[in-house]
Every structure is written in C-alpha cells, then in structure tokens.
C-alpha cells in the first residue's frame, strides 16, 4: 500500500495503570507527558485498567474523537491482551493491525519494582520504540481458509473412542486410527476399574461396539499415520493401513495415543514372577489369585519422582489401593502393606477408596526416598520413617507401582505433525491453565494419558473436551488466520535458491514457476510468521508483514536514541 504521508499519521497512546501494578512503581505523570512530545502522537490518555469495559470504551472514544489512525496501549503482555485491544480498534473502525502494544508491566514495573526512576526511563524508551513502529504500521486483512469437515483421531483407547463418538454423534465424519489390532488401549489389560470396581472389559466393549457400529466413524486398526502435511482446515494425511496407504484430508486432528507402563528392569529385583508390576497384578487378578499367596508388599514410586523421571504419575497410587482391595476380595486373610512416599489419593473418590482400604486392614508404611526399601528373597526390609525403625515384612508377592511413561513413538508423531512434547516425553498443551486440551499448533487437540497420566474419569472428560475444542473449526467451516506472514516483498531479488523452503518448520514455502522464472511462493494459511525464512534469505527477498525490516530497524534506532 502507498505510504501514508507523514503529517497524516495520528498516534494515540493509552497508558494503563493496571490498578497499582504499573502505577504503583512507575511515574505515570512523567510517562504521559513524555509520550505527548513524541512524533506523530496526537493524543495521550491514562486508564486505571485499559482492559476493563470502561478502559476499552475510552480507547474507542479516543479513536473516534481524535481521528486516530494508529493506537498504542502501554500496559501488560500482548500474549493475553493484544487480541482484545486489536478487536476494540476494529470496533472503532480502525484496522486492527494499526495497533501496537508496549509491555511496561512485565518488562518495567514488575522487574524494576524498587527502581522507580530507571523503570520509568525504560518505559519511556519502550513507548518511544512503540511509537516509531506504529508510524510504519500497515493495515492487514485477515486470511480466510476453508475447513475440511472431517476429524482424525489418533489412538483408540478410552479417550480417543470417547472423542470420536462424540464428534460422530454431532454429525461430523471421523477417522479413527489405532496402531494395535484392537481398540480399547490400556483398558484391555485392566481387571476392574476403581472407584466403581466395574469390569474394565465391559466398558471397553461398550465403547468398541458403539464405535464400530457408528455410521460416521471409519476405523483403521493396525494402522499408523505415516506422513502429514498441511495446516488447520486442510491436513493431508497418509495412513498406513493393513490394506495399503490411504490419503485423506482432515480439518482437525486429535491426539489420544495414551501412554505405556514403565517396566522396572533392574529395580527391586523385578522378575515378572514374584516381583511384578501393577499391570502384571491386573492380569493375575483377572486369572484369579493363587490362594497360597498370603503376604503382599506393594512399593510406590518405582522409577518415578526420581532424577530420571521427576514427575508423579498421578494414577499409580489409586491403582495400588484398588488392587490391594481386590486382592482382599479374593484372599480375605491376605496381609497387604503399601510402602509409599505420599499417597496421592486426591479428590473425593480416591480419598474415599483410601479410607475404605484402611478399614479393610491394608497397612500403609511411609518410606523416605533417601532410604528406599530393599527386596529380599522372601521379605521386604523397610525403614519406617514415622516409627523410626526398620521393619521386616514377609512377602510372597512384591508389586511395584511403576509410572506411565510416554510411548516411544510419541517423538515420531510430534515430528510428523510439528507439535511439541515436554521434558518427560508427554505431549505439550497450548497453555497449562487456559488451553489444557489444545496444542500451540492450530487445529490439533489433545486428551487422555498422552497429555499426562489420567484415570478413566479424567480421560473421558478430556476426550469430550478435546472433541468440543475440535468442533469449533468444524462447525464454523472456515478459519481465519492471523495475517502476520511471510511475503515475497522483492520478487526480482528471489533467486529460488530454496534455502527458506528447507528451513520453514511449517512447510509453508514452495518454489513455483512464474513469468519471471522460478520464485518462492508462500502458502498463506500454513505460514506462522516465525520469520526463519526472512532472516535466512541471502537476497533479502522475503519480509514478514507487521514485522518488516524497516519497521524493526525503526524500532531499534528509536531504542538507541537517548530519551530527552
């Protein structure tokens, strides 16, 4: 677009007090006086909370009454508040990309609580830089793209089946891919389910029947996702099925791949016979226990909450208590001791189970991780931290509570779909508190033990929740993508070297034939605006809108200039 004439630029600066979060630590008066003197600034106002309804209406009023064509809010973080301010600009008739945010809370008042003057000076610097950028901003139109109304669910455990059924019940076409021959996941290996003590296989069968009989669900068992391309609304997926590769397009993808049980090779003399895992205990219970077993010792946190695996696997305490109760049902006179660090019986149902188990005579012995129990040929030696002495517990059977760990192929999936995994190998959600079922990548969602160990109640809730999240683009039929993307700003300069194509982490670039020969082409909807390509281009042919070179250089220059 043609550059606006310098004298036509009218910038409004709104400085937020954030209650006392900012105003308590910076000199607000000085800031607004300073902002008034900056080039192109025609209006400055301070708000108690710019994000409150009152604050927003002040901003809109400012835009309309003072004919502003650029707006700056100096307040908190754009991560949480930029969308709001942008849409407020839009409501006042200003293109939302003519808005710039300056973070004087997280970067000034919070980190310089005790240096009022320096903090204020830094805020001035940042406002000056923001103003420099704002003067060069360009209006931007959102990019629309159609959504393929079809969902891919990867993983056919309880969470994946729940999600698939729910979407299918809402009329959406669903493809469910399960790598094993059978659906059901971990449920297939469990005997009874706490807290209701219903048959795990009954729940599995009920869901499997519903899934296989559903007209909207196409099921591929013994199958895997082999290749993936695309972006929200249009993921092109290759599924390797028993009858060859199927290429299908999807609008959204749900990850429900669950987790595996850790096998404690080399720990506590694990042998799979007398010294077994809780998962193996489930199998023994299914078969029916040998009545000769009288003394059972369970050890918690085997291979978890340590240096290798610092996390708590959340469900193994519940599983141990459940299995202890089930053993008591089969062998009422059995003596069961559970050696624990903390009994993680959180919530209403777990704590109730925990209480009931104590009433049934199950013994709980606290041990300290620096002095772990020792398993001997027919007994377990443990230092009872609360009694302050060593105890010898006879043991016909030792059951080790091992954590759920991420599947080995989680890494492969994360690379195929370009989604993140956390330091423990589980999939990483978009935001711990606010987006627990989303990924940072649009159009991909997460549920069940693939995210973090979950019990059935949690896995089902998350399956439903992920379906709900996924149904938003499906029901809207199209997505609007943020227009901060790569553009071939200087087509002539591009020599089609392909450096950017290889670097783009989202597969958003390709080389195309044009009238001017081979040139790079940006797939708008796939581009995330990360900037890798523009930074790498040896010809400086690429630019990122809203972060063009000249905009960034203007900011840097303003940053270097002394505050008057």
């Amino acid at each position: 677009m043609p550059d606006m004439k310098d004298e036509d630029i009218r910038i409004g600066v709104f400085i937020c007090h954030c209650g006392s979060n900012i105003a308590g630590y910076l000199d607000m008066e000085e800031l607004s006086e300073y902002a008034e003197k900056l080039p192109h600034v025609t209006f400055v106002q301070r708000n108690l909370y710019s994000c409150s309804e009152a604050g927003i209406s002040e901003i809109k009023k400012g835009i309309m009454e003072h004919d502003l064509n650029r707006v700056i809010v100096a307040s908190c973080t754009p991560r949480t508040h930029e969308p709001l301010f942008r849409s407020s600009c839009a409501e006042a008739g200003l293109n939302p990309y003519l808005f710039e945010m300056v973070n004087i809370r997280d970067q000034c008042s919070w980190v310089h609580m005790k240096e009022r003057e320096d903090g204020t000076d830094k805020a001035k610097d940042q406002i000056r830089m923001g103003v420099a950028k704002a003067a060069l901003l360009e209006p931007q139109e959102p990019i629309m793209s159609d959504v393929q109304i079809r969902a891919l669910v990867i993983g056919g455990g309880i969470s994946g089946m729940t999600a698939a059924l729910s979407l299918a019940n809402r009329g959406y076409e669903v493809v469910l891919v399960e790598k094993e021959k059978n659906l059901g996941g971990m449920l297939n290996q469990i005997y009874k389910l706490a807290p209701t003590m219903t048959d795990a296989s009954a729940l599995a069968e009920e869901k499997i029947r519903a899934v296989t009989g559903h007209p909207n669900i196409t099921l591929f068992t013994g199958s895997k996702v082999n290749a993936a391309q695309g972006f929200i609304g249009k993921y092109q997926i290759d599924i390797e099925t028993e009858s060859g590769i199927k290429k299908i397009d999807f609008g959204v993808i749900l990850i429900a791949t669950g987790a595996s049980v850790y096998t404690p090779e080399g720990l506590y003399g694990y042998d799979g016979q007398r010294i077994i895992t809780q998962l193996e205990m489930e199998r023994l219970l299914k078969k029916g226990l040998d009545q000769g077993i009288k003394n059972i010792v369970m050890i918690q946190c085997v291979g978890s909450r340590n240096e290798d695996r610092p996390y708590c696997s959340r469900i193994c305490c519940q599983t141990a208590v459940k299995n202890a109760m089930l053993i008591k049902n089969q062998i009422p006179e059995a003596k069961i001791s559970i050696l624990y660090r903390d009994m993680q019986m959180y919530g209403v149902e777990n704590e109730e189970l925990f209480r009931d188990s104590k009433a049934k005579g199950i013994r709980y012995i606290n041990y300290d991780s620096v002095q772990p129990p020792e398993v001997e040929s027919d007994k377990v030696r443990v230092y009872h931290a609360l009694l302050g002495r060593e105890m010898l517990l006879p043991a016909d059977l030792v059951v080790l509570s091992t954590p759920l760990i991420a599947h080995e192929d989680a890494v492969e999936i994360s690379q195929l779909l370009r989604i993140s995994i956390d330091e423990n190998g589980f999939f990483l959600e978009g935001h711990v508190k606010l987006r627990p079922l989303d990924f940072a990548t649009d159009g991909i969602f997460l549920c069940g033990s693939a995210h973090y160990p979950a019990n059935i109640r949690e896995a089902v809730a998350q399956g439903l929740g992920a379906a709900s999240r996924a149904s938003i683009p499906l029901s809207q039929g199209s997505v609007v993508v943020e227009p901060i993307i790569s553009v071939l700003a200087n087509e002539d300069a591009c020599i089609a070297c392909g450096l950017c194509v290889a670097l783009c982490p989202y597969g958003a670039l390709e080389i195309q034939k044009t009238e001017k020969g081979e040139k790079v082409h940006v797939i708008d909807v796939a581009c995330k605006g990360c900037g890798c390509c523009a930074a790498a281009c040896p010809q400086k042919a690429l630019d990122i809108t809203h972060f063009r070179d000249r905009q960034i250089f203007a900011v840097i220059e303003a940053g270097g200039a002394e505050a008057q």
Partner: protein, 452 residues
C-alpha cells in the same frame, strides 16, 4: 472473562438467579430473577465516578473483607460486566437517609433507586451447572484460633495479600501490624483534632495553652464551661501524643512476614467436616510459598501436611523446586494447635513425625489451606433443577460420564461436581459444552428424521 462479555453468542445475565426450571432436555423453560442493581445496565459505562464520590464505606467482600469499598461498587476492578451495583444493605438513600450523591455524579444517568427485581423467561436446550465451591470457614476448628489470632489467615486471604492490587499492594504486612498502623492513623487524626482545638482556644483568648493551664490550675480563672474544656483538652493531649509515639516506635520494628507456616487439610480429610481431599490446596500452598519467596527472598516457609498431593502435570517438579530454591520445607503430619506467642506471633504445635516428638514453632504468619466446600446455594439449585447430589453435596456424576448429572440435558463442570484445579475445570467446561451440543444435535436430527 472479557471474552465471555464480548462473545456474540453469549448472553450474560450477571447478578441473577435461576428460580424455576420446567420441561426436559432440549426444551427447558427457565425462570431467572434479575436482581435489582439500582443501576441501569444499558446506561452504566462502568466509569466508577459514582463509587469515587459515594460517602459510604463497606467491607470489601472481594478482598475477603480485608479492605473497604463503597456502597455503590463494581465487585472488582476488571469485573465483567463493569455495571456498578448499589448495595441495598448499606446505601444511605435506600435506607431512608438523605444522600443520592451517586445519582448526581453519574453522567450517564444510570442510577435508578426505583429499580426492582425483574423476572425473565429463557428457552434453552441444555443446562450446565458451574456453580463452583465455597471456601471452608476455619473458625469451625477451635484449635486453630482463626479470627482469634489475627496473624492466622486463610489461603484465599493470603492470595489477596500477595496480589499487587490487594489490600497490602502485594507486601506481606501482617494483619496485626496493619491493625497497629490503622490505630496510628486514628490517633494521628485525634492528635491533629486536639491540636486544632487548642489553637482555637489560644486564638480566642490570645494566650498560650501552657500558660493558661498553669494559671487555671492556680485558680486564676473563674469557673467557665469554655475554660474547663480548654483545660481538659490540654491535660489530655500529652497522653495521646505519647501513645502515638510509642506506637510509631513499635512500627519501626515491624518487618514484612518472613516465617510462614502453611497448614494443609484444614477441614479436608477430616471426619468432623469434609472427609474428602480437596485436591488443589497442596498445590496452591506451594504456589503461595514460592510467590512469597519471590516477593521477599528471605521468606522461609514450612508446609505442614499429611501427604503433599501435588499431582498435576509439572506439580511434583514444582514442589521439589520450591524446596530447593524457594526456602520451603515440608513437614509430615497434622497440626494439633495454634496459639498466640509474643509479638502476635502464632505458634504452631505439631508432631514432628520424623523425630517422633511434639514440637512448637513460632511463625510470623500462618496460612490455612481450607477445604473446597460444596457451595451453599447448591441445595436450592439442585432442588430447582431436580438433580441429585452425592453424599458430600457435590453434583452427582459417574466416572464413565463425568459431566452428566442425573437428569438428561443437565450437565456439570468444575468444582460444582467435585474439587479440582483450574486446568481440570477448564477441560471439564469443554466436556460439558460438548455433551450439551451432542445432545441438542441428536435430538434435532431425530426430529428431522421424524419429519422426513
């Protein structure tokens, strides 16, 4: 919150209550009482000019009664909607006195003292109960002496202490110290007043107070009301000044609270109150201890708990980090008693389960991790909706259908169903929305089929 307020598909009826529900899934008729705010929603811009001018101060419920607000108010600064509300219990005008200052101040002409409750009808397909929880009242546990010892506070009160927009601006000023400061402010007012009164007399009689008093005592002045008042004022003055300066000296010794004790399972895992585990309180105590340490690096915290149930994603790591880097130590066991020691310091008596002896330790402040109690209104609401509660008075669900209530078409999420933290509540909110959508869609397609 803002997203809710702005979403075109959400109609927000704040300050309202459900009165009656008829019909069934897909076709509920809901009667809602919109309580009178005495402020017109469509006119009020939320500017707050009225609250600035309102002369009536009221204990601030949002800041857990730790500060004050006005009789016309917005529940909290970023509240949605920002429509102000007049507190009919406190407002002078509504209690027959003369005032109406807010009405004069409001430029939007939004104040309406004649507003009455309005009843509206809604037709809805599904209902989601997200009524949350109440914080357990720890004064029911006499041995913890909450309310008796000022420096024993609840975790939710402590959240307000840590908040930069809270009553202490984020500083850990102890409640007892704050009380002294309030006393000083009161005394300063009194000293000033007495000073002014003396000055008035001095001007009137053109004589210094000291000189006058000497003569008065010596009987040189005749018995006169005015002289007597002057003499009394003068005689009383040094005492107030003295008290004030003693208190001021005392205040100089005050520092922010640096030794904190967090008591877990207050009301939870306790047969006298709630036998269940509230799930989130271990984690929020760790969080509060870490934040306190960030505010003041010398802060040392002890968390007293039977088990530390930090079981969400990343929480165990958070807990260990808190121990290594934020001065937190964990002590296993239940606290027996809290008493008051010197300098208003609470003293915690507990069994050191590792040393196996009873110990007492003095702290600057004690924070009680109170239970997640079923919300009081849930009984009434459950009756109106016809849904069952479980034996702990949370909305009854089953593990296989975690957000379905016992009535088709009515769903539940968050702490109304059982105690849980924010991520789980957020996830469940989506789950409940999904179930509602699923149900409405299915009945629609059935109807379409029936027509076809």
């Amino acid at each position: 919150m803002l997203d809710v307020g702005r979403h075109p598909n959400i109609e927000l009826l704040a300050y309202s209550e459900v009165e009656k529900v008829e019909g069934q899934a897909v076709d509920f008729k809901v009667t809602v009482r919109r309580k009178a705010r005495y402020v017109e929603e469509d006119k009020c811009t939320g500017c707050g000019a009225c609250a600035e001018k309102c002369p009536t101060a009221v204990p601030d419920a949002f800041n857990e009664g730790l500060g004050t607000r006005k009789a016309i108010y917005n529940y909290f600064a970023q509240g949605i909607p920002s429509t102000h509300t007049i507190d009919a219990d406190y407002c002078r005008q509504l209690n027959g006195k003369k005032c109406g200052i807010c009405e004069k101040t409001c430029q939007a002409d939004a104040i309406n003292f004649d507003q009455e409750d309005r009843i509206i009808q809604l037709d809805v397909g599904a209902i989601i109960v997200a009524a949350g929880y109440d914080v357990f009242d720890p004064s029911l546990i006499p041995e913890y002496r909450y309310k008796e010892i000022s420096n024993v506070v609840t975790a939710i009160e402590f959240e307000r202490f840590l908040s930069a927009s809270g009553p202490t601006g984020g500083h850990l000023d102890r409640p007892s110290d704050r009380a002294v400061q309030a006393e000083i402010a009161g005394l300063e007012k009194r000293v000033n007043k007495s000073q002014r009164a003396l000055e008035k007399f001095e001007k009137k009689y053109e004589e210094g107070s000291g000189e006058f008093y000497k003569k008065y005592e010596a009987g040189q002045y005749k018995d006169d009301e005015d002289y007597k008042k002057w003499a009394d004022k003068y005689a009383g003055h040094p005492a107030i000044v003295e008290t004030l300066s003693t208190l001021k000296r005392k205040v100089e010794t005050f520092t922010v609270a640096k030794r904190l004790a967090f008591i877990q399972c207050v009301g939870s895992r306790d047969f006298r109150f709630y036998p269940f585990c509230s799930g989130y309180c271990c984690m929020h105590s760790i969080k509060e201890a870490i934040i306190a340490n960030e505010h003041e690096p010398e802060t040392q915290s002890t968390i007293f708990g039977m088990d530390i149930r930090a079981v969400g994603k990343g929480f165990e790591e958070y807990k260990v980090r808190g121990g290594n880097k934020s001065g937190i130590s964990y002590m296993r066991g239940r606290v027996a008693e809290i008493t008051e020691g010197p300098d208003n310091n609470p003293v915690v008596t507990y069994e050191n389960t590792h040393e196996r002896k009873v110990e007492s330790q003095e702290f600057d402040m004690v924070i009680l991790a109170t239970a997640c109690a079923p919300t009081k209104g849930i009984f009434e609401l459950a009756k109106i909706l016809g849904i069952e509660l479980n034996k702990y008075n949370f909305v009854k669900t089953s593990p296989q259908s975690p957000v379905d209530s016992t009535v088709p078409g009515i769903f539940v999420c968050g702490c109304a169903g059982s105690p849980m933290d924010v991520p789980e509540s957020v996830a469940q909110a989506s789950s409940a929305a999904e179930r509602a959508a699923e149900m409405v869609f299915q009945s629609q397609s059935e109807k379409e089929k029936a027509v076809a």
